[in-house]
Amino acid sequence: MEQIVKIMDINLRFFDLEIVKIAVGLLAAFVFVVFNALILTWAERKVAGHMQLRIGPKEVGPYGLIQPLADALKLLGKEIITPRNVDKPIFYLGPIMIFIPVLVAFVVIPFDSFLQVKDINVGILVILAFSSFTVLAILMAGWGSNNKYSLIGAIRSIAQSVAYEIPLLLSLLAVVMMANSLSLKDVVEAQKGVWFVVLQPVAFVIYFISSVAETNRTPFDLPEAESELVAGYHTEYSGMMFALFFLAEYTNMFIVSAITVTFFLGGYQGPFLPGIVWFLLKSYFLVFVMMWFRWTFPRVRFDQLLNISWKALIPLAFLNLLVTGGLLKL
């Protein structure tokens, strides 16, 4: 009897351990990431189809719903080709590096008031710090590939990230000043009455534009601009390594939308429906808007890309921050 109690006690303590909680959370996040990417690849092709007056995938499964699964299986079955003269450790680390920070972000995102792996009091800093790793991974992929297109794509990605991380941070900072906390949960709770999109419309627009640029999506998809750079930094990758880049892109889309929802659109708050449903609804609506952008806007030129950030977004973000600070002091 004593022994059983002892074992149960150990078990309970085992599940109370922070590290175990995080591990379980990460596992759940991994499942979600894969599922999310499968749905989004299908959704993107459907959205693309209907915006161009056609239907998109429809052959595999009802409404083509099993198409992404077939694609994933195909990618899994493909040989991973290592081109000659690549920098092997860097070449192989690139796709892995791009995937890890994506998982970390899920630890702090509050899906519901009770559905959050860990409420860290510097939550947004964790996400932003880790998402900056993405650029490093892209550089590793571009440099390691020993291919001029890959390298140009990687260089562009870095210039782009440097330019767009600043307005991104500044616009979030304005919200943080109003919510008085860096914890994502506190930010959501601070929007009980009014959503921050009403109080901070400029920050919202700046954040959303920057986040589209951060995820390397059209109209800011210069790092992988297929019409000029073949496929940019993932030109040389094949099979599952390419799939990891793909997975990371679609997960980043979701994370960026989730942060937008958390910071500006009231997070999991909403009437009637449970919090998680509201959260996912809002997030996926924003993902849809990003797809909508992709099938509407042509790619910007590189000088235009940098000009938008340095000449328009950054001054605007600073001004917004200044005004916010001034008004809060009053």
């Binding site: 189809g49 915006m51 909508w292 952008f293 509407t296 000449k311 328009a312």
Partner: protein
């Protein structure tokens, strides 16, 4: 590029207009047809491989008189052999063999134009496929033989 408030507003408005266009088409019905499942009607002017036309009086007989003008006029030499027989009580010959080698045909239509008895036309056959060259050697009279058998 300099960003002025005026240019900023103008640009933002044009972006919104573009998004309006795409969201409108998003909800519009699709314009494509799902080919193997639904086949569009072939327009009458479509140029497939040539075929022999049936005579207006008797749809079981073709109008070819096996004169061989099309054979001589074909720039690619695609019409290999036209032969016919003279039947009892008829003025002209009737085609019994009309060999077309579709692999070299460019659908120029000179044979159709030069035919004195207006016996040639274009078929609407657009999805022929085969594994060997011989799959594209057609005997155009066979079509009429089939019809005769069926009736």
């Amino acid at each position: 590029m300099t960003v002025t408030p005026a240019s900023f507003i103008k640009g933002a408005a044009s972006l919104a207009a573009g998004m309006g266009v795409t969201i409108k088409s998003f909800f519009q019905p699709v314009v494509t047809s799902q080919y193997p499942r639904e086949v569009l009607e072939i327009t009458p002017r479509f140029r497939g491989h040539i075929k022999l036309l049936a005579s207006p009086e008797n749809p079981l007989e073709n109008m070819c008189i096996a004169c061989g003008i099309c054979v001589r006029n074909c720039p690619s030499g695609s019409i290999k052999k036209v032969d016919g027989e003279k039947r009892e009580g008829e003025k002209r010959k009737r085609a019994t063999v009309y060999m077309l080698d579709f692999t070299t045909c460019s659908q120029c239509g000179i044979c159709v134009e030069s035919c004195p008895s207006k016996a040639l036309g274009f078929s609407g056959d657009f999805n022929i496929a085969g594994f060997k060259r011989a799959d594209f050697y057609f005997d155009l009279v066979k079509e009429f033989d089939k019809r005769k058998k069926a009736s």
